[in-house]
Subunit: 310 residues, 2 copies
């Protein structure tokens, strides 16, 4: 099944303890679609400026990603400047130039309307809701958000949450959204807001899914945990969460039916794609990835966590 | 096989967001031996004062734990007073009364000398080494330590590490010991100090084992991760790490041979016992536990983390 993702396509200038990189291709929709493209067809809705050239376009094309939904307009691409210090789990934003993103009004090409899987990457919840409304036939809708929208645009966000099959956010965002520091209680509160499943991304600790009684995955238990690969070097954490989401949702969309087993494997594939993403700056690692490497690492995740695997 | 554990038997006065408790039975050797007693015979070496009465003795006796190695002397038991605030992973020590523990000189009863499994709980590394030296026949020796010894008694600690089959410490202790914030690199440095296997206890995130080339478990991979059970309520984290160690080492000692599969199951049993320990204050939950509950929770840990379990 095709996935439609709406989100940012951007340039990132990043400093980490491993070095710096200036204006590399980034943005949630970029990281998401590259990761998902290893599993299924991906269509992107976003907006870029005149500095989005054939070079950037080629990154998507090389992975067979449909970018007719990326609107080109006058001005410059969204540009994020940030750094990671000792604690690689925490990004410090140095500068945000919204540029063309400031006036972004998502438009859905006719050819995209049959997409059954919809991913609302981290953008203004008002825009997420607009896209959601235009895709009534989407049978599975997952989304992401961030502290900025949780803290300052809560009512708009609550509208989006009400309809979601799955919400993918990180630990800190879940606790902020719920106003509760215990993750299990926080998850209960979030599930009560509407999402049928909550997937909490925990960085170096993996990811935990919490299921409501109406969860699409019909998993018998209340939660499922996917490990993270212990990594000696995290070069650049930017895009790890989006790559997780892309691997997770891409695998789900590639399967004929979403059984508990498929859901769990999707969690592992999310972890696999996140673990690759951080090995190099920007999209560098994922762009060079092969399906064989993905399967090898999936096996490593299994060996890392399973009693009977060796 | 019998386990011999040396460590503190104490009273704890604890405040957590769930309440307070005054002078409940605690100490690393207590928590460890109660958890291990569900798997194998346990013998304890420690020291107590006149305030250790038939009531406390009965706690050990009820679990069939051999306490002839607990020396009784004049004075009072070690008494720890501490609290946990919002962050339940971090204990704040309000007061430490060493009392009889200040002059503790471990003596090994003749009847204990055939113990093949030795656990050196968190005490002065000089005492850990004394006990180790008196038990040349122990074929498997694991130990714990804490920031106080890592920071201020490093040379003594390094003597102990050189000979250990397994070191069980928490995340922060591992990073402090290695002087390295990346856990994989920290583990490499610690394994270079002697321990054949490093087990890092990560609280609500489970535990990760790192294997040297000489690891007793002969696991093919470089690491193994056991999950933690997501808990809506952590009443009192005191003793969780010692209960983990007791479950882990108790299960190992109960098996005829330590295969990779046995090692991995031991990690899960560690998590299981840690997850029970925090449900009530002090030793309360573990004392009331049944083997059936342990096995049920082991199954829950498997379902939580395994792709094919349901």
């Amino acid at each position: 099944m095709s996935i439609l993702v709406v989100g940012s396509v951007a340039f990132d200038s990043i400093r980490t303890p491993h070095g710096t990189v200036d204006r590399c291709l980034g943005g949630a929709a970029t990281h998401f679609s590259l990761a998902a493209s290893f599993f299924t067809k991906v269509r992107v809705i976003g907006v870029v400026g005149e500095d989005f050239t054939a070079t950037e376009e080629a990154v998507f094309k090389a992975r067979g990603i449909d970018i007719q939904g990326i609107e080109r307009t006058t001005g410059k691409c969204f540009h994020w400047t940030g750094e990671y210090r000792e604690n690689l789990n925490e990004a410090h934003t140095l500068r945000t130039d919204l540029n063309v993103f400031e006036r972004f009004q998502p438009k859905i090409p006719e050819a995209y309307r049959d997409s059954e899987f919809l991913f609302l990457a981290n953008i203004d919840p008002v825009l997420q809701q607009q896209v959601r409304k235009q895709m009534p036939k989407a049978r599975m809708v997952c989304g992401d958000t961030m502290n900025y929208w949780i803290a300052g645009h809560r009512d708009n966000l609550l509208h989006v949450l009400r309809d979601l099959d799955g919400l993918l956010i990180n630990d800190g965002e879940a606790k902020l959204l719920a106003g509760e520091t215990n993750l299990v209680k926080a998850a209960e509160r979030i599930l009560a807001l509407g999402p049928k499943t909550l997937i909490v991304k925990q960085g170096e600790y993996g990811a935990t899914a919490f299921f409501s009684d109406h969860s699409f995955a019909q998993v018998k238990n209340r939660f499922f945990h996917a490990p993270a690969l212990p990594l000696a070097e995290v070069v650049d954490p930017t895009g790890a969460g989006d790559s997780f989401a892309g691997g997770f949702f891409g695998y789900l969309a590639s399967q004929p039916e979403i059984t508990p087993s498929v859901f769990k494997r999707a969690m592992f594939y999310g972890g696999v794609m996140g673990s690759f993403a951080v090995e190099r700056f920007g999209t560098e690692r994922i762009r060079q990835l092969t399906r064989e490497e993905i399967d090898q690492r999936f096996a490593a995740f299994r060996e890392l966590s399973h009693l009977d695997a060796e």
